[in-house]
């Protein structure tokens, strides 16, 4: 199977801001054509090729649906790989801020109301960052700026996971 890039596969413009209902509809249209359920009584080769296309479509949709992975993918198409492990370029202000967040989440363990509050203000933070990434990628075409913001967003993402884990502990 030759690989088609995720945007072309769904006939979407190659940019950060996407019409999500349109993306969803395009994904469904593609799956309606390639899903293995449509090829059950066909030959083994056809079934295998259908599975590869359906797998590719699922991966493409998963990547484009989530803003973080979508930005990352878009940047990699522009030749910039976001290395999550390397964070040497982080400003000390940002890192201190992150430490404070982390401590707040740890202190809030067992306190449902406080976790809820943290989750809400984190969501606010995420919204601002996404707006920034969107401007950098689609309007200013400042890929370096987008990559920088994206690295920060990965920290925020980790915080989100921590908050959700703390909530899971409360509920179980």
């Amino acid at each position: 199977m030759q690989v088609i890039d995720y945007f072309s596969l769904f006939g979407m413009p190659e940019r950060f801001e996407l019409d999500m209902p349109q993306l969803e509809q395009a994904y469904r249209n593609v799956q309606a054509q390639v899903h293995p359920d449509r090829f059950v009584s066909k030959t083994e080769v056809e079934r295998r090729v259908a599975m590869q296309w359906a797998t590719h479509a699922n991966e493409a949709y998963r990547t484009l649906r989530n803003p973080l992975s979508r930005a990352r993918y878009l940047l990699s198409r522009r030749g910039i790989e976001i290395d999550a492990e390397r964070n040497t370029a982080m400003s000390s202000i940002f890192l201190t801020e992150q430490m404070r967040w982390r401590e707040a989440v740890e202190d809030a363990a067992g306190n449902a109301g406080e976790l809820e509050r943290l989750s809400d203000s984190l969501r606010e933070e995420e919204r601002e960052m996404f707006a920034k990434v969107q401007r950098a990628l689609d309007v200013e075409r400042d890929d370096a700026q987008a990559a920088e913001t994206l690295r920060r967003m990965m920290f925020v993402e980790k915080l989100r996971v921590d908050i959700n884990d703390a909530r899971a502990v409360l509920e179980s």
Partner: protein, 622 residues
């Protein structure tokens, strides 16, 4: 099999000629078969009076078996040789068996899966399940007066890879062509969704005889999209029976019982449990070792108290699934109850209390899964009617991970990923000239290998010898639409395809299944042999016609040598067709398929590309 008729995927060439396909609910307690006739789904009777076939198989000394009601009747008299709830043993090892199962049967530890020692010899859970499936297949063929093109077989959504593979193997042994393994709650959603023309987010609470599944689905414009699934593959109505049986035994102060008496008490416990769904109090007739009967009075409240913690165990998977999709209880449009165990009033009350609304029960909870499976089977078999167009997107229930240093798990495919899904991972060698490496795949959510379910060990061989760290081996883990894992590997710098040897931690080896199939065929009568021969001859003719047509249509996608090889293979296949062994024809068919594989792949890719471009133009907003 038509090669490459892909202009209209899923549409049958002749819409009036329905191909017979069935849906099978292979349950812990009961099994059912259903089909779609004249556009309506219906369960098929397994005898004059019943739709439900009790999933019980009795073995006799001469190797004969009885399945269903007749076997149920013998449970207490011949408990060791009468296997019930075999689904709990599918794809499971000795160490997974609950104490109650050890008491009930003569279990033997063996490679890959536990064995049951019966008067007819050792049997695997796969073979026991195959006996149940065989009866369902025969009944379906009788009442539909025709051969089945295939079956959709349902499995608990929370079944792991080994349990799914074991189910598929059982179907093969029973002579069924498996169109798809379908998750039980998804099947129920199909039955409900198409019935109500529903839209929105639905939850399915499926408490069967031996398994609990909880799924959240989104239904919109002909797409069934499973968002999350969770559950407990060792929790079901059986556990309610066992707790009640233990309590009844305790009340009679009878101490240690023999196997048949224990089975008798268990059967009585089930009767009492079922009676308590209607009555507020029941008198249990508990058999004793000395032949007497002890009468024990039990009311509904006592039963609820005894089994309360089982009901509570279903709550945490529900919370987990909701969390996974970031939804609140109030986001759920409706809740559907599935499985015989949801008849218990306190289970219903618990579900209603959790969701703050009454659940749907209007389709018989015993039949709804088989009905949904039949609807899906009908579509998969190609009996799609004009305008009948829907798509099912399901997920993998458990995360797939790899063992890393220190017994830790690195997750590579998270749970609730839409299937089919694949993940490629790169590895390197750590010794000069290393040509092999091993990868241990596990399923589960925990961080330590020992807390997850071991899936398989993959040995990669044939890695080109290079200096340490120079080889880059790309290993692809693919989960298909049945939720089954396969692995392939390639060394990137040389492009050499590595040989992957799979050692499943649980499950029967391919050779074992093949041997069982062969044994079945050797005992088969002449009719079956002639049928097999004829089938292969028809198959060969179809394949040759399809290949020849493809070569006319798309000859430009072939190079001269490929064309030559294909033509040679066609001649060879024609030669074997005159012979009298179906295996020789099958081998020649496989050769021709192999020779046309690259060609078929190219055509298929082209066709899909065209289909995608075509659909895009049609769907662009005006």
């Amino acid at each position: 099999m038509a090669l490459l008729q892909i202009s209209e995927p899923g549409m049958s060439a002749e819409p009036h000629q329905a191909r017979i396909a069935v849906g099978i609910d292979l349950g812990t307690t009961n099994s059912l078969v259903a089909t779609v006739r004249h556009s309506l789904p219906e369960c098929l009777r397994v005898d004059e009076s019943a739709f439900l076939l009790p999933s019980v198989v009795r073995y006799f000394p001469d190797g004969t078996k009885v399945v269903g009601a007749a076997a149920v009747a013998a449970q207490a008299a011949d408990s060791r040789n009468t296997i019930a709830s075999v689904k709990r043993m599918m794809g499971r090892g000795m160490q997974d068996m609950e104490p109650a199962l050890h008491e009930r049967y003569d279990l033997i530890d063996a490679d890959g899966m536990v064995r049951i020692n019966t008067v007819a010899g050792r049997v695997t859970p796969v073979e026991v399940s195959a006996e149940i499936l065989k009866i369902l297949r025969l009944r379906a063929e009788q009442s539909l007066a025709g051969e089945l093109v295939g079956a959709v077989i349902t499995v608990p959504a929370y079944f792991d890879d080994a349990q799914r593979q074991a189910t598929k193997d059982a179907a093969r042994l029973a002579g069924l062509n498996v169109l798809r393994l379908l998750n039980e709650p998804t099947a129920a959603a199909i039955a409900y969704g198409l019935d109500h023309a529903a839209e929105g987010v639905y939850a399915v609470y499926d408490l069967g005889g031996g398994t609990f599944d909880f799924s959240i689905l989104r239904l919109s414009r002909g797409v069934f999209e499973v968002m999350a699934t969770s559950g407990d593959s060792a929790l079901g109505g059986d556990d309610f029976d066992q707790i009640l049986a233990d309590w009844l035994t305790q009340q009679t102060h009878s101490g240690k019982q023999n196997r048949d008496i224990a089975r008798g008490v268990l059967i009585e416990a089930r009767r009492v449990k079922e009676a308590l769904t209607q009555e507020t109090a029941v008198i249990a007739n508990v058999p004793l070792e000395n032949g007497d009967i002890c009468y024990v009075n039990i009311d509904a409240e006592r039963f609820q108290l005894l089994t309360r913690q089982l009901v509570e165990r279903t709550l945490s998977p529900m919370k987990k699934a909701l969390r996974d999709v970031d939804l609140k209880v109030s986001d759920i449009e409706a809740v559907v109850l599935v499985g015989g165990a949801t008849r218990m009033p306190h289970v219903r009350r618990a579900v209603a209390a959790f969701f703050g609304r009454e659940p749907f029960t209007d389709i018989d909870p015993d039949k709804v899964v088989a009905i949904g499976a039949a609807i899906q089977a009908n579509i998969l078999a190609g009996n799609r009617r004009v305008g009948e167009d829907w798509l099912l997107l399901d997920v993998t229930p458990l995360s797939l991970g790899l063992e890393t240093m220190g017994g830790l798990v690195e997750k590579i495919i998270p749970r609730n990923s839409t299937i089919p899904v694949a993940k490629a991972q790169e590895f390197t060698t750590f010794k000069d000239g290393q040509t092999a490496m091993a990868i241990h795949a596990v399923q589960g959510e925990r961080e330590l290998v020992q807390d997850c379910r071991s899936l398989a060990r993959f040995e990669l061989r044939g890695i080109p010898p290079l200096v340490a760290g120079a080889a880059r081996i790309r290993v692809t883990f693919q989960v298909d639409a049945d939720g089954l894992l396969s692995v392939s590997a390639r060394e990137l710098s040389t492009g050499v395809e590595a040989n992957v040897i799979v050692k499943p931690s649980y499950g029967l080896a391919d050779e074992e299944i093949t041997a069982m199939l062969r044994a079945g065929f050797d005992n088969a009568n002449n009719d079956i042999r002639i049928r097999a021969l004829r089938e292969q001859q028809v198959e060969a003719k179809r394949l040759i016609e399809a290949v020849e047509m493809a070569m006319v249509e798309d000859g430009d996608l072939l190079v001269a040598e490929e064309k030559q090889v294909i033509e040679e293979n066609i001649r060879e296949l024609l030669r074997t067709c005159d012979g009298q062994t179906h295996l020789a024809i099958k081998a020649a068919i496989d050769d021709l398929s192999h020779a046309t594989a690259k060609f078929a792949e190219r055509r298929m890719n082209e066709a899909i590309r065209k289909a995608l471009t075509g659909s895009r133009i049609d769907d662009l907003p005006v």
